[in-house]
Subunit: 270 residues, 2 copies
């Protein structure tokens, strides 16, 4: 589990070591801290997925649901896994990420082999419209946010800087962005759940304060092609401080590779 | 647990009886069978939610994720529950519906008190456009489908009959419909997860055959007002036989009360 110097931070920081009985040791790193403080939820999910991949016979996560019970923290963690069903085409298992004896995140996921799936293809949606990455701007250039180490790990490119970042929320909780891992490592199926949760919440464009995620569902539809990924983020329904957020990730083949929805809760009434 | 003659079928067929240790007895009824045969997945989820409501301190399901491991069947079932966390504002618990020693459905859900939620409200979406229920038609009138007992429990009204039902799939996997429980019982938070899964899959408009649901996530956003509910169903991404399906339910106050997404798999390649 020791981080080899040659390992990319994503691989080093999601590594798990079997302790027997389906339990794995992990070390939650401080290199993926989010805007609200503490480790990003998608990063915790990626750690859980790595442990789950050790106990299921299929290699590709296809769908997962994560419930965030308590905030995670930097330091030692155990991931307790349980295989719910191993079938011919898919298998389902559950992971509980525990720190200091308290469960932080519960993930249930179904794995399969995406390359073995066959059948109809028909898409009624388009990738988000964005200028080429080299003609887009880094939204955080010149405006680093202290403590958000996640911004050192994930890179974004946008057409226009987000309004909330400059004290002028647009009132429209939506946006498009390019995203990729920093450091010459392309995203794979295990990194996509991190990326769907790595951007700033769209509700910041409503001028709200902090929020927490109650639940996050991610569909992983295909192995992403290398390079920049085009992302669409939108919140459609904010009601009494609860909101949904949908996130899509499209790769350079113009293929939807991940789609997520989360239910979040604003912490300050406004 | 015995069905009182005065009880509505939904209440009778989702009743659970505590057996101790967080386990509940239930009887899966044959009155909610789906198009593909066997009990509707949303019905099985509703049974799990009823058991969960007995072990959490909060009364309102707010978000749930259900993984369908094996088909359910008519007859005796046990629902094993486990409280994951009971907090001040929300609590999370898990249910496993077991029949003949095999787990059929696993549900994780977070409960709260919707009436106690407060904070920002902002909606960037509209209810589906539909003629008034009394000017709409019953899509199944004159075309009953043998064995689909769910159609005796849930009523639909649409502007136009769906193409697939008459052998002419439209090629557009989407539609709007009114829905309600039959028999003078308004839907509540426990019935909404059944309703989001009660309509025929939108992918039938692609001329495909049978399909199964791998996972279903439901957000429950408010207690629905009485009467007909306006529903929007859409599939946007079908890829190698896997597809998403989004379902929205709006009540007569034009409020989104439930929103779901499922990942389904076509069983016959086409």
């Amino acid at each position: 589990m020791a981080a080899l110097s040659s390992q990319h931070p994503f691989d080093a920081d999601t590594a798990v070591e079997p302790l027997g009985d389906g339990t794995f040791a992990a070390t939650i790193s401080g290199r993926w801290n989010r805007l609200a403080g503490g480790p990003n939820g998608g990063y915790l999910v990626a750690v859980c997925l790595k442990a789950l991949s050790e106990v299921v016979p299929h290699g590709d996560p296809m769908v997962l649901s994560a419930f965030f019970l308590r905030p995670g923290q930097e330091g030692a963690a155990q991931v307790q896994t349980e295989l719910a069903r191993a079938g011919r085409r898919t298998s389902t298992a559950e992971a509980r990420l525990v720190q200091d004896g308290k469960e932080r995140v519960r993930v249930v996921a179904t794995f399969g082999r995406l390359a073995h799936m066959s059948g109809r293809t028909a898409v009624f949606n388009d990738p988000p419209s964005l200028p080429a990455p080299e003609q887009s701007i880094d939204p955080l250039a010149g405006a680093p946010i202290a403590g958000v180490t996640l911004a050192d790990r994930v890179e974004f490119r946008v057409a226009e800087p987000p309004g909330w970042l400059h004290g002028e929320p647009t009132g429209r909780p939506e946006g498009n962005t390019w995203a990729r891992l920093k450091g010459d490592r392309d995203a794979d199926l295990f990194a996509l759940p991190l990326l769907v949760d790595a951007a700033a919440p769209a509700v910041l464009e409503l001028g709200v304060g902090r929020s927490v995620t109650l639940e996050l569902t991610v569909h992983l539809r295909d192995h992403p092609s290398p390079g920049w990924l085009a992302c669409r983020i939108v919140t459609r329904h904010v009601f009494n401080g609860l909101y949904d957020e949908d996130f899509e990730i499209w790769d350079s083949r113009r293929r939807l590779v991940a789609q997520s929805r989360q239910l979040g809760m604003l912490l300050e009434p406004s």
